[in-house]
Structure formats: C-alpha cells, structure tokens
Symmetry: C2
Subunit: 270 residues, 2 copies
C-alpha cells in the first residue's frame, strides 16, 4: 500500500471516529491502519481536535491509561444548538398539528432521521457522565430518538412493550396508570437487561408522567438503577416530576382546555 | 478566521458529508465555509474520493447539473460486508436464542445501534436507484433498522401501527392475516404519506409474509407504489414471495418442527 498522506489520514480518521461515537480507538489502531508512527498519529489527532473545535463538530478527546486512546463525542455540535430545537418548535407550531384531547401531531418529526439524530445527540450530551448501561424507551414513537441517543452514548437501546410477545421470551409485566388515567401494562423480556445495570429513560412525550413512572417501576423489578430521564416534549403546566433531574428538549403548554398553546426549547439547551 | 489548511478542510468535509448521507452539497457550500476557491474544493473532493475508495468507506459522487454538487453514499462499506452479516449470524446461532413456536430471540440485535447502522446501510445500498420517498415499517422491532435505512437514503421513516392512536390523527385501518394465521389490524395516519409516493418496506422478520402483504395493502389505500421490500431475517423454507425482487439480509431455516435450524447471509451480500 502506498504511503498515506496526512490529508488522507485525517479524512479516514474523521470518518472512523465520528461513525462510532464514544468508542475509544487506540492510537495503535490508526498506526496499523496507516502503517505510520504513533507520533504522527498524535499530530493528526491534534489537528482533528482543532478543526472540530473551530467548526463546532463535536469533541475529540484523548483518553489516557491502559485502555487509552482517542474518542469522539457529538457534544456542543454547532448544528444541534438552541436554534435547531427552535426550528423544531417552529415545525410544531404549524397549523393542523393540533389533535382532539389536547394532543399535537409530531410523529413525522419523531421519525425524521436528520431531526432524530440531532435530538439524540443533544440528549446524549447531557448524560455522558452518568454511566448508563442502556437507553430504555416505551414503544413506539420514542424509539428513533432513543436509538439515536443510545448510538451517541454507544450503549444498547431497550424497548419496553405494551404486552408480552412470543418472540421476546419470558418477560416481566407490570401495570401502571397512564397519563389519561387508564390502567396500562408494560412488559420487558427477562433477558433484555441485567441486575445492577444503570438505565437512561428516553421517551417522546410526557404529560402526567404515568408512562415514565411505569418505566421506573419496571426497572425496579430488574434491580436496575434509573440514572436519568429525558423527554422530547413535555407538557409544562401539568407535568409532575417523575424523578430528580429529569429533562425535556421542548416544553409545551397544556392544550386540553382548548386554549392556544405555546412551545419552547428547554432552558438547558444553549 | 485564519486560512484553513487542506488537511483541516478534508476532516471537516468528511464529517459534514458522511453525517448527511445522500445529501447533495454544492461546492459553493464548502467554498463559503472555508472561504476558498472552487478549484481548491474540487481538489479536496478528489482526494476524499480516493481515500474513501482505498479504505472502503463508501462512495463520494460528484453530481453534475443545476442541482449539482457532491454526495456521500455508504455503499460498499468494508465494515458492512458479508463478514459483518456472517458475524450477526454467529450471534443468532448462540445457544438459548431459540423460543417456543419456532421463534428466535433477536431483539437485542435489532436495537444495537452499531449493528442497526450497518444493516440499514447494507439495505439502503440496494435501493438508491428506486426513488423511494419514504421507508415504511410495522411497529415495533423493525423500527431501528428501518430508521437506519431511511437515514442512509435521506428519506423519512413511516411507522404503521397495530391500532389507531389519538395522537396520530385520523387514520386508515386495514385487516390482514398474520403469519400465525390470526386476523390483525394495521393503521396509518392519513397525513403520514401522500398519493403517488413510492415506499420501500423494511421489516425485521418474515415467515409467511402476512405482515408485509398487509403493508402492501395499506399502501394501496394511500395510492402509494411499493418499490422495494427487505427483511432483516426471513424463513427460507416457508417463505412465500411477497413481491418481486424482495430481499432479506439473513435466511433462516424453519424451526417449527423442532429441528435444528440453520442461518446464513443472503446471496446478494458480497
């Protein structure tokens, strides 16, 4: 193989690192890939760090120690700032999204790959330090954002179901009171998670918090600690706290009285 | 802003292009971003094309014409070749995945972000030329792979539900015969898709093809043409054709007779 030039190395390293967020690559990995010296790769990393910082493309961190190397995290992305969430709010303010019962149609936004990636990276950026072993969501609409969050954190996503499915194997079932006051059930395959793990809850919508409280109950059944909770959209006026430190990307005023609604990005989004 | 060096430009361009697969960026976009000449950006693109080709990181194509520019597609990825699918098959051959009724537990694989990304890019690579306007899947387990496919194709993902939800607005409901022979219903919000669009179906599992046929029926109700269909896992011995040209990533022998099963990557995966 011809000697790889620095600009080619940087292009390849960028793609490899950003395609696997939060994964630590040893410098040796790149030394072998490019058959070049460690000192050279270190210089490459320094250049990448500067370029990503300058263009707001995330953080490239060098990790020291035995398991050390270099790691990319999509934190502080210029593309996914407050303006990004404000743009989504604008979409939600479009006419004809309002549905009976004080609901807002936003399934399209929850399954738009580009918006989902941005929302997931914004959420993940808040939870790199809590050591979540997986992201838990309740089917169905929150799955894409939960997956994007899990990808950015480099952990599995786990989906709680409304009922046990034959193809999930033996499961734990619980009942919970939904936001609308009805009794719902929630099921999770026994083999999906392990005792003592840590869970980050990600869901699309929170009004009364019933579903989220159900997920917390479900995690208790598995002796799993819930280390964080973030919703895409939460109703402000009604919202009772589900757990300490819970977050939402967007806050919505209650619309069930038929009043006009307001929607805004959460304050933590800069 | 200081003048950006070529190696920094290449790193930034790589990240911008690969983060938005199948999106055409004009050269002017990068000229403005780097305040540099078009001829310089053209040289940068040529270098990137070579590096991506050499390391099997996908295709960077220059698109001519009024809406021309440069576009990245994750086609022929070295990381997501037949070996990748064979590795997933090995996981599926692990003990204790077999469930009653001839099912295989693979929910964990269907929501592993790294595996999902690879499966989605492999599927998308087969459908860049069919002009799908969206990827349709049926809740729940196929959603992650469908999303990854949609992201690689840069189209929305649409989720058909088992029943109408209040937060989806008015919907079209159909009944279909599931693989197990029971009558199921499938619902999709009226506003989710438009007359005359083209759909690519992506689902996690196919035994008799009942669900897929249901999705095709559902699309007829919306006057949407189904231009492709791909499953993550399909049962070979039972599989009746759902539509011409349908594909699967992996083929599974029937296990309902309690016999040992075999699983292999589909022949189209090189």
């Amino acid at each position: 193989m011809d000697k790889i030039k620095r600009n080619e190395r940087l292009a390849v390293m960028t793609q490899v690192l950003t395609a696997s967020p939060n994964r630590i690559f040893t410098l040796s990995h790149f030394c072998e890939l490019f058959s070049t010296a460690k000192s050279t790769v270190s210089e490459d990393v320094a250049i990448l760090q500067g370029a990503m910082r300058q263009f707001g493309l995330g953080q490239l961190e060098t990790v020291t120690g035995a398991a050390g190397g270099v790691r990319y995290r999509p934190i502080g992305m210029k593309a996914y700032s407050r303006d990004f969430v404000e743009m989504i709010c604008d979409k939600l303010r479009e006419e004809n999204r309002r549905l009976p019962g004080g609901y807002l149609y936003f399934s399209d936004i929850l399954s738009d790959p580009e918006l989902v990636r941005g929302m997931g990276q914004l959420i993940a950026g808040q939870y790199y330090d809590v050591g979540a072993d997986f992201v838990l969501t309740m089917e169905t609409k929150g799955i894409p954002v939960a997956l994007a969050t899990a990808e950015a954190l480099r952990v599995p996503m786990i989906i709680a179901r409304h009922s046990t499915k034959v193809y999930e194997g033996s499961a734990v079932n619980i009942s919970y009171v939904s936001g609308s006051g009805s009794i719902e059930s929630m099921a999770l395959s026994r083999r999906a998670v392990k005792d003592g793990q840590k869970a980050l809850l990600v869901d699309d919508f929170c009004r009364g918090g019933g579903t989220a409280r159900g997920m917390i109950e479900l995690m208790k059944e598995f002796s799993v600690q819930v280390v964080g909770c973030c919703f895409v959209l939460a109703v402000e006026s009604e919202k009772q706290q589900v757990m300490a430190g819970e977050k939402a990307l967007m806050l919505l005023s209650d619309m069930r009285d038929g009043a006009d609604f307001s929607i805004r990005p959460a304050d933590w989004i800069k």
